[in-house]
C-alpha cells in the first residue's frame, strides 16, 4: 500500500463526508513505536487500510507483525505516534458504545455468574438502570446466551465452564450492548482445534446473520480466509502491511469450504506472500 499524502487524505475525508458513509474503520499511515528497556521498537510502520460497514476483515501474520497492536489502537486502548485512525468518521477512543473488543482469553470475572458477566458492559455503560431498560437488557442477555449455546448455564460461574464455553460467554458479553464494530484479538487461539473450528463456523454464521463489521486478528491463515471478506497480510520487524487479499468465496460460508480448491489457493497465496514456501513441510501454517 502506498502512503497517501495529506492532500489525498483530506480529499478522501471530504468525499466520505459528502457521501455520508465513512468506512467503519479507517487507518491511514499508522505508526506505533514501543519504548522498551532495550530502546525503541517499531511495532507498526505506515499501515493503511480500511474496513467497510458490515465487512469482515482479518489481520494475519506471524507474531510481532503488529496485528494485535493495531487492534488495540483501534479499540482506543493504545496511544500511537503517527497517522490517523477513524472509526465511523470519529477518532478512535475507548468507551465507545459502537465498538466492542474480544480478547484471546475469555476474561470473565470469577465472582460473577455467566449472566452477570454477560451483563457487565451494560452495568459500566449504565444502560441497566431504568426499569424497562433493565428488562430489555436482561432479555437480550438471555437471548444471546441462548444464541452462543450456553442455555442452562446462565447461573453457573465461569470456572464451572470449559474453555470453549467461557469464550462463548465472552462472545455474548461482546454482543450485549450491540456494538456496530467488533474487534477480535485471536479470540479462539487458545482453544483446541475442534472447538476452534466449531466456534469459527458459528462466528461466520453470526456475522452473516447480524451484519456487523468485524476486524479479526489471527495468525492462522486458513481461519482468516474462511471468515473474511478481505485479509490484510502483515510481516514483522517492523510490522508492515504486505498485501490486502480479497476473499471472493461465496456466503454463507460452510466449514466444508475449507477443503475446496479455491480456498486452498487463497491460503497458498497468502502463505507464499509471507515467505513460508520453504518452511511449509515443517511448520504448517505458522
Amino acid at each position: 500500500m502506498a502512503n497517501s499524502t495529506g492532500v489525498e487524505a483530506e480529499q478522501d475525508a471530504v468525499s466520505a463526508a459528502r457521501t455520508g458513509s465513512s468506512p467503519a474503520i479507517e487507518i491511514k499511515d499508522l505508526g506505533k513505536i514501543y519504548q522498551t528497556r532495550h530502546g525503541a521498537v517499531e511495532a507498526v510502520r505506515s499501515a493503511t487500510f480500511s474496513v467497510d460497514r458490515g465487512e469482515f476483515v482479518s489481520l494475519v501474520g506471524p507474531s510481532g507483525c503488529g496485528k494485535s497492536t493495531i487492534l488495540h489502537i483501534v479499540a482506543g486502548l493504545l496511544e500511537f505516534e503517527g497517522g490517523e485512525v477513524r472509526m465511523a468518521g470519529k477518532p478512535a477512543n475507548a468507551g465507545r458504545r459502537d465498538v466492542g473488543i474480544m480478547l484471546q482469553r475469555p476474561v470473565l470475572f470469577p465472582w460473577r455468574t455467566v449472566t452477570q458477566n454477560v451483563l457487565l458492559p451494560t452495568r459500566v455503560f449504565k444502560i441497566d438502570r431504568r426499569g424497562e431498560q433493565r428488562e430489555a437488557v436482561r432479555r437480550r442477555a438471555a437471548e444471546l446466551i441462548k444464541l452462543v449455546g450456553l442455555e442452562g448455564f446462565e447461573e453457573k460461574y465461569p470456572w464451572e465452564l470449559s474453555g470453549g464455553m467461557q469464550q462463548r460467554a465472552s462472545l455474548a458479553r461482546l454482543l450485549v450492548f450491540e456494538p456496530e464494530i467488533l474487534l477480535m484479538d485471536e479470540p479462539f487461539a487458545a482453544l483446541d482445534e475442534f472447538t476452534r473450528e466449531r466456534l469459527n463456523s458459528e462466528l461466520a454464521r453470526l456475522h452473516e446473520q447480524l451484519g456487523r463489521t468485524v476486524l479479526y486478528v489471527t495468525h492462522n491463515i486458513q481461519e482468516a480466509v474462511f471468515l473474511s471478506d478481505r485479509v490484510v497480510v502483515m510481516k514483522p520487524r517492523p510490522g508492515e502491511v504486505l498485501e490486502i487479499v480479497d476473499i471472493p468465496l461465496e456466503r454463507p460460508r460452510r466449514i466444508e469450504m475449507v477443503a475446496e480448491t479455491e480456498t486452498a489457493a487463497l491460503v497458498a497465496r497468502i502463505r507464499r506472500k509471507l515467505g513460508f514456501e520453504q518452511e511449509e513441510a515443517t511448520h504448517g501454517d505458522g
Partner: protein, 281 residues
C-alpha cells in the same frame, strides 16, 4: 475447570445436570477428611501421653513441667472462675478492636498506595522501612503514651496486624489482570468503576491471606502489650501464675489462648469462604 477437550461433548448433550463432570471426589474426599483429622489427632494424643509419662516418672521436674492431667484439671477449674472469663474477655476485646482498626486502616492506606501514584511515591518507601523495624519494640512506648489500660494493647495489636494487610492490598492491586483492565477501559470505565467492579473483588483472595495472618498477629500484639504492663487480661494471668509457680494454671491459660486464636482464625476463614467463594479459580 473442565478441560477444553470435553466441550463438544457437553455442547452435543445439550444441558448436562448440575454435577456433570464434577463427580470424582465423593469417596476419596471422605477418606481424605478422616485422614486429615485422624493423624494430627493421634499425634497430639501421643505427645500428650509422652508428656504425662515423662512428668510423672520424674524425667521432667513436676513443679516446672506439671503433668498434662494437672494442666487439664487446672483448665477445668479456671473455667469455673469469673476472673478467668473476665481476663479472656479483655484480651479478646483488645485483639478484636486492634484487629479491626489495623485491617481497616491498612486497607484504606494500601488502596491509596495501590491506586494513587502520589501516595506510592511518598508513603510506600516509608511503610516498607517501618515494616522492617520490629513493632513489638514499640510496646513500652505505647504504654507510656496510652497508659496501663486497654488502649495501649489495642494500639499495639493494630500496629502489628497493619503491615501484612497493607502489603497484601498493594500487591493484590498491582497484580490485577491486565486483560481485565483493558476490557474495563474499553467500556470507558472510570477508575472508580474499575476499582469497584474489578480491582476490589479481584484483590480479595490475596487480601484475605494478609487478614488471616493479621488475626493471629493481633492476638500476639495484645498479649505482648499485657506482658509489658497491664492490670487485666490473659497475659497478666500467665505472668501472675508463673510468678506464683502455679505452672499448671499458667499452661492452662496458654491452652485457652490457643483456643481463642483458633476460634478467631476459624471465624476469619469462615468469612473468607463466604466472601471469596471463587478462590482458587
Amino acid at each position: 475447570m473442565a478441560t477444553a477437550s470435553d466441550t463438544p461433548k457437553i455442547a452435543e448433550t445439550g444441558v448436562p445436570g448440575p454435577a456433570a463432570g464434577r463427580r470424582p471426589p465423593a469417596v476419596p474426599g471422605e477418606r481424605g477428611k478422616v485422614t486429615r483429622y485422624l493423624w494430627p489427632a493421634l499425634t497430639l494424643v501421643f505427645l500428650i501421653g509422652l508428656w504425662e509419662v515423662l512428668s510423672r516418672t520424674g524425667v521432667f521436674n513436676e513443679i516446672i513441667v506439671p503433668p498434662a492431667s494437672d494442666v487439664f484439671v487446672a483448665l477445668v477449674n479456671l473455667a469455673g472462675e469469673d476472673y478467668f472469663w473476665e481476663a479472656t474477655w479483655v484480651t479478646v476485646k483488645e485483639t478484636l478492636v486492634g484487629f479491626v482498626l489495623g485491617v481497616v486502616g491498612a486497607w484504606i492506606l494500601g488502596t491509596l498506595i495501590g491506586m494513587v501514584r502520589f501516595f506510592r511515591l511518598t508513603l510506600y518507601p516509608l511503610v516498607i522501612a517501618f515494616q522492617i523495624t520490629p513493632r513489638i519494640a514499640l510496646a513500652p512506648l505505647f504504654l507510656t503514651w496510652f497508659g496501663f489500660g486497654i488502649t495501649s494493647k489495642i494500639v499495639l495489636a493494630a500496629t502489628i496486624c497493619f503491615f501484612p494487610v497493607l502489603i497484601a492490598v498493594v500487591v493484590s492491586l498491582d497484580t490485577v489482570d491486565k486483560d481485565g483492565r483493558s476490557l474495563m477501559r474499553s467500556f470507558g470505565a472510570s477508575r472508580w468503576v474499575e476499582y469497584r467492579m474489578l480491582a476490589l473483588p479481584a484483590s480479595l483472595p490475596v487480601v484475605f491471606a494478609g487478614i488471616k495472618t493479621a488475626v493471629t498477629l493481633a492476638l500476639i500484639g495484645a498479649i505482648v502489650a499485657e506482658f509489658v504492663g497491664a492490670s487485666e487480661g490473659m497475659g497478666v494471668l500467665i505472668k501472675t501464675f508463673n510468678f506464683q509457680l502455679q505452672v499448671a494454671e499458667g499452661f492452662a491459660v496458654i491452652i485457652a489462648l490457643a483456643i481463642v486464636g483458633l476460634v478467631l482464625y476459624g471465624i476469619t476463614e469462615l468469612i473468607e469462604n463466604k466472601l471469596v467463594f471463587w478462590r482458587g479459580h
